[in-house]
Amino acid sequence: MEIELDKVAYQYPDNGFCLRVPSLVVPGGSRVAVVGPSGTGKTTLLNLMAGVLVPDEGSVHLGDHTVSSLHDTARRRLRLQHIGFVFQTVDLLDYLDVRDNILLPYRINRGLNLNAEAMARAAELARAVGLADKLDRRIDRLSQGERQRVGVCRALVHRPAVVLADEPTSALDPGTADTVLDEMFSLVESQGNTLVMLTHDRSALDRFERVIYIDDGVASIAEHDQGSRTLLSGGGG
């Protein structure tokens, strides 16, 4: 599923920070990284793509849907059906076990049918990231890396077309971070998901086909060519 942002501007009412995206297209099935200094609007960009935030100007398209013109409920439904989120801090529900955390999208969406197939898929994802024997374990008994893996499984369990990952490995040690990324990329590739991931880790950029750079509140996209930067389109703030 393709993501397209056209002449988008979003300004926070409280601190006046403004993110501008002149033109941005993330082709369906591609893997795109978003990089830039802290506080430049990376998470804002992700929230605009997901329809959590609505731009003040311009439009956001997710496949055939114009997300920016949808009502809150419709945007929420769109997120539930087509988007999987992996967060920076692993916000799992501590009162649910591993299995129920993975199946959370089914618990909060009546449109998704929590049937035997979904249960089997949760188990299959858990097995893929090495958590097959910990499905009934409480969250507080998992390591940080294991929790992030649960987060990845939760993002993928309902077969979303797009996976948005907000610095998913920033809280992990380098070794664990690599393992989690390997598993996440393996799953994303096997499913053909579009992946947009925020990262500070320059060494991880080789995994991506394209990179979105954000600087001074302006986003631009470039082909990633082993360290060189080929700007596709961009704009000034």
């Binding site: 929230n47 959590v52 988007i83 999987g84 967060f87 009162y95 649910l96 909060i108 969406n109």
Partner: protein, 371 residues
Amino acid sequence: MYLTRRYLSHNRGKALLMGLAVGLTLLLPASVTLLVERYNAELRGRAEATPLVLGSKGNRFDLVLQSLYFRSGRIETLPVVMVKELEARGDCEAIPLHVQYSAEGYPVVGTRIDDYLRFRSNGYASGGPPTLLGQAVIGSEVARVLGLGVGDLLTSDQANIYDISKAMPLKMPIAGVLVPTGSADDRAVFVSLQTTWVIAGLGHGHDITVHGDEARHAAAVTYALITPDNADRFHFHGDESTFPISSVIVLPKSTKAKTLITTRYNSGQRYQALEPAGVMDELMGLVLRVKRLMDANLLLVGLAMAVMLGLVVMLSLRLRAAERATLHRIGCGRWLIVKMQAAEIGAVLAGGALLATAGAGLVLWLAPRLV
């Protein structure tokens, strides 16, 4: 609902504690209200069914409470001849009561048992009226608690444990057990007036059967038992018409008779004729005034508890802000999040209310033992 259930199950200790706090806050005013209402109904019902009580001048509350509910309290006695005096008027019936002693902690009520039971519309669940001096009829609760039935023996309590020259306790064979009525009659032991006088030491028998650890030694005698063999040899000394009773239930045959009797005795210095309903109204007025004070107090406690619970809920919601943000980002509707967290709070409140209801039921069940 699944997530709500899992949240409560995971935090069951905290949820239980909060539910307990809510339950106790609700239980206190609920049980006080229920108890007051129950006793108001019970006390008033019995008082309204009793037209007049005659007794010696003194505390009117003590006289009514002792005559209707057999509550212990020292009131001046009056001579039993007063009963004959009342009956001689021809415009009323009179039922004497002598409530001064106890057996196993239950009041021993000396009366004309048949007349009393007819007046209270009560009857026998088993057995029948006493046929011999010294026999007793017991209320249903006495029978249940002490595990006694017809043919068993019930011993009167020693009137004064420091004065062994006083009459010895009397072992009373049980002739009958009364039907339960939910009134003070359930918790009383009924005997003839003569039997209470025996307990008082006003009557005795020569060669009466005595029992004790060492029956041969007079000092070792621990109780007396009247049997068909020794009953004939039993007698009272002195003028029986002067023997004491504590009060008389007077049943006037007309309103006029009631007015005449009230006027006749209240105008004198020695006796008083009281309408129990009026006295109980006065007493309940005092009780209700105290209850209103308690209600105000409990309202403040309830408000304080509500503020505390509100604070706990607010802190909990604040701590779970990240959870709400996550749920919303992955597509959970805000309304669903509100419903989930409201259901958690609702379940705790409902649990508390359930606890309070169960507690109030328990209080009502224990009420006869509590008050």
